[in-house]
Amino acid sequence: MEIETILPELVLAAAATVSLFLSSRKALWLGVGGLTAAIVLVTLSWGEEISGGFLIRDNFSWFFNLIFLGSALLVLLASRLDLILREREYPALIIFSTIGMTLLSSSNDLVSIMLSLELTSIPLYVMAGLGRDKKSAEASLKYALLGILASAVLIFGMVFVFGFTGETALPKIAQAVSKAEVNPGLIAGLFLMIGGFGFKIAALPFHMWAPDVYEGAPTEVTTFLSTASKAAGLAVLVRILSAFEAPVWLDWGMVLAILSALGMTIGNLVAIHQTNIKRMLAYSGIAHTGYILIGVASLGMDGAALSNTIFYIVAFALSDMASFLSVIAISSNIGSDDIADYAGIARHSPLVALVISLGLISLAGIPLTAGFLAKLYIFTGALDSGLSWLVIVAIINTVISAYYYFKVIKVMWFDEPLKVNRVTVSFLLGLALLVSSAGILVMGIAPSLIMNALGQISLPF
């Protein structure tokens, strides 16, 4: 194994470790520098394929690494200064979690998947509690207890996959599975693993933690959870499922399709009643996990499903990023997360209101935004692979979801303002808002830029 296999991680780890011993501001800048350096390194390695031992760095992992590093960088730039000044470990925690994610998307072995999943999660448990109030402590407890439970279930599943295939390396597991006979132990193992990852990505039956943790955690951490952490779980889920592609008796596609239909429907219906914007976005995130699972479910049947799924993940990450970052900006000024308190924000601060509206419009899937094309690609792909009932459910859900997204937009632009509170935005937060909203528009108008890169991604087995 050569050192360049983990060069970006080494740079990040060095930056994070040194930043622990510096003052808060220097730690922030060192963190930003380390992330930027890692982004440059990853971009330069695009197209290379290095595999060594537990890890494989192919285009799939490089692309996901860019998603994680990019969202970590945006979150770090957008973080409120008082949080950074109070918690000196905050940049280091974000970076350690990002290292876990980049390793997770490059893992080629059950052992390294488990280890990097824990490296991703453990800093996140701590970060959820950084708000230092009762709600934040509660979010941290719920996330940690349920997260550890989920990883125990995941590990039990891995043990059975190991036991009944005799291998821990994914390519060898893929070989063994393609030769295996009908085996309930393998089925149990795979579904326990899907359960464990379903928790990480907040798919429906394992979503209970998401609304509470999203509401209680500091909004910066929520942003990171809903973009990078979700993308990491999806990346590793796709990689593992592609190793289980061969046998007919192991029909995970149908199970994922059912989870997806449930997730979309319940996520959207519950989101309608939410009064807190972070809770609403949490349920909308659960619904969007459902849409993404449509793509994952058709992985085995449709050749373009992989690039469609990744396109959706990027589009969702950008739109959610824009929405949550604007929530940071607005809530830190008006001191409330209630949608009712957002009344008339647009009168005083039209720019921030424009960004959050753009994010919500893209989440709803209106043309000219990234979200529209993402939905279009995923739905047409699913139609080609014969999941037309799922597409019908998804389209009905898209219509339902437009209602609550537009309710927020209506409150912001047309309701009478309650308080006269100008939203002031720091330069760095403004930069992060600009980047994410530009990303939404670019992906919505010129999708070929990203689709060309996605066309070069393939999974080895």
């Binding site: 709600k135 719920k142 550890i148 125990a152 590990i155 039990f156 036991g163 821990t168 509470d212």
Partner: protein, 100 residues
Amino acid sequence: MLGHYLILSAILFSIGLFGALSRRNGVVILMSIELMLNAANLALVSFSKYLVSQPVSGQAFVLFILVVAAAEVTVALAIVMEIYRSHQTIDVTNVDLMKW
């Protein structure tokens, strides 16, 4: 023989799962989850002993699971301490500012 170990492991796992989901004391939940992880370890070593041609990878897996379990429990206990400081209780049903 393998059957006996796996049955024990499955029973341990189920007891752990039941405890983790039905108990209300944060520390007991953590103890139950440890039980689940140990069930996984037991299954791993028995698979390595009886079924698998190359037992080394399974046995190494056990060590990593032990380390991960220690790290998780350390962080979770710290969080339970923080909850006790802010809420004066570690009963998870009383930690309900937000609805589950």
